[in-house]
Point group: C2
Chain length 372, copies 2
């Protein structure tokens, strides 16, 4: 019943996990086990550069690589920062999907890259636009979020995944695939990772922020051995050593079978929330096309030009609806291929931390603001 929540503020601002789903008791049990277990002294001392070795082993088994191809860092943004710091040289260009994760765009820019946004269609990046941009200037890497993209909710199709690795091979650039939401699939089947199609051209970045807890800050990167070796050296030079107790707790979380049960809990909690937001968009904004995701954290919509979107953020706030500025997700909002108002008309709807009732009320409130 939307009426129950209509007077309260609804936050569509951040892609955070539902607070009730954070497994504090399970983590407490794991922390106790590792801090009183046989390796307790080891996980409090300097060491394990590149990340706690048992965690790197666990990840390496999941990705069928050697543990030396895994670097564990303080969340995936930390690893993207290190990666950009290593790969980007002055004058380099980096491509991102447009829209894309705002913090990644900022990070690549701060590391000196010119960041070019390539339009994202409902089935993945627009290949014609990508080839045109490559012809103009080859990127050092293309950053993609192939599963349940942040912010658009788009999943790159199998055909486009193959096309991306083919292009990366032909034109000699890196693909950086960021897959933090991939495991949170509420329906359908997973498509291959880009690294499954070409492990030599692809760096895979992911984290446990959405699967266990954001504040443990455990993210990881998987890539070719020579690259990971260099990145590990750079990580050592910037943060010296990994945070080991949290990384050891993640290993224990798997050993005790908590990872699977927790993942199932998350899916049971989030799946109806996804359904609720999708249903609300279909009900209250029936003319708005959008990618209907099968997992992840985000549904996003681009409001038609005929809708009343001027000054939307401020009007929404007054109506008790907090939105993120859609323009933040656009690296390149004034490129010739992009309608300059597209960013303003882009609305991200993170659904995991809101109840179905809040989601319905929020979308209804949005519709009231934009439908003339």
């Amino acid at each position: 019943m939307p009426s129950q929540v209509s007077s309260k503020q609804i936050l569509f601002t951040r892609g955070v996990p539902a607070v009730e789903a954070l497994p504090n008791k399970l983590l407490s049990e794991c922390m106790q086990a590792v801090l009183e277990g046989p390796d307790a002294k080891g996980i409090l001392q300097y060491g394990h550069n590149g990340g706690y070795l048992p965690l790197r082993q666990l990840i390496s088994e999941q990705y069928h690589v050697s543990p030396d191809q895994v670097l564990v860092g303080n969340g995936s943004l930390h690893l993207q920062d290190i990666l950009a710091g290593f790969l980007v040289k002055p004058g380099d260009v980096v491509f991102v999907e447009q829209p894309s994760y705002d913090r990644a765009i900022k990070t690549f820019r701060r590391r000196g890259a010119k960041v070019i946004g390539i339009p994202l269609d409902l089935d993945g990046i627009n290949l014609t636009a990508l080839e045109e941009s490559i012809a103009e200037k080859k990127p050092v890497f293309l950053y993609v979020i192939p599963d349940f993209q942040n912010p658009a909710g788009v999943t790159t199709s199998a055909k486009k995944r193959q096309a991306l690795v083919d292009l990366a091979e032909r034109y000699d650039f890196w693909l950086v695939e960021d897959v933090p939401y991939r495991t949170l699939r509420y329906a359908g089947e997973s498509l291959p990772l880009l690294r499954d199609l070409n492990s030599e051209r692809v760096v895979t970045v992911s984290s446990y922020s959405k699967l266990i807890s954001p504040a443990i800050r455990v993210g990881y990167l998987v890539g070719p051995l020579a690259l990971v070796k260099q990145l590990t050296k750079l990580a050592e030079e910037t943060i010296l050593a990994p945070v080991l107790p949290t990384q050891a707790a993640v290993v224990e979380f798997h050993r005790r079978g908590f990872f699977e049960t927790n993942l199932n809990n998350l899916k049971q909690l989030y799946a109806p929330r996804l359904q609720a937001v999708v249903q609300a968009v279909k009900t209250y904004l029936p003319e708005v096309p959008f990618a209907e995701p099968e997992g992840g954290f985000f549904v996003s919509i681009t409001l038609p030009q005929s809708y009343h979107t001027a000054d939307l953020l401020a009007r929404a706030k007054q109506a008790g609806l907090l939105l993120t500025d859609g323009r933040d997700f656009f690296a390149d909002p004034y490129a010739p291929t992009v309608d300059a108002t597209q960013g303003e008309r882009f609305v991200r709807l993170p659904f995991c931390a809101l109840t179905p009732e809040q989601l319905e009320a929020g979308v209804q409130r949005l519709a009231n603001l934009v439908c003339k």
Copy 2:
């Protein structure tokens, strides 16, 4: 009895805490308390940019500043990296004591600074050399470790502390004081921090690596409000959010009174080790002058030119003695003020993770290698 350990390898390579002193049981108790306490969900969610607020409050009380003047990061090197990333512009010069902490030198260089080493006397940096270097080119900051310096063990005298802040004020540069060892004083009285003499010119960096555990990676920075605000923004852009469970455990460690008892345990363990290494140097290398520290982790010696130091690292290794290359601590080994062999003749003796017997045997072994 040195004979007990004479056949085993002795590691004088890294300034790490004694593994037996790592308080794993106490930390386990703290972790359990915070992960099952009233803020358990909060410390697993995104938030607390700049560091866990109760920890910033605790530190701010110790330093008599506002919590907004404290930034908590993943160890102090992480904060030095952020600080250098923010302050250093192309062409900038950074001064360090010579010798100084090798990783800090590397970090400042990687952030684009030209790093100049200013000779360190037994009572702190050589002021004449410092003024000459300032006249040549003013640094963006001078990095000093005023208490029980790494690697030299030197403590900057009260007079020189005052001179440093006077120079920083007169010539308009920052002082970055790194004080991770300050609390580990085994004798004598603490001198004022540089920030006690001029809080507007000084950035203080420290950590719990030597006081609780290195692998929790909790370091902090204290500085003027406007600067800390900018650094907090940069931290957020690179690591997004802090590791909260470890930071919350540090707060709990204080609340339960563990910090004081643990500190006393460390002092009781380390004080006889310092005595042992000092006594061994006086016994086996009686002609070698060195700064006799009243705390910290390091005693260091510069072997006279007449000693047999050629190929020392390899010969030491063969004799079961692992040493760090002294040249790594010299930012500027070929400056006109420095004898080019000084780095080669410089030997750091970290004493905390070795028993008094190992320390005596190690110094004796070293003496056998270098005394002709």
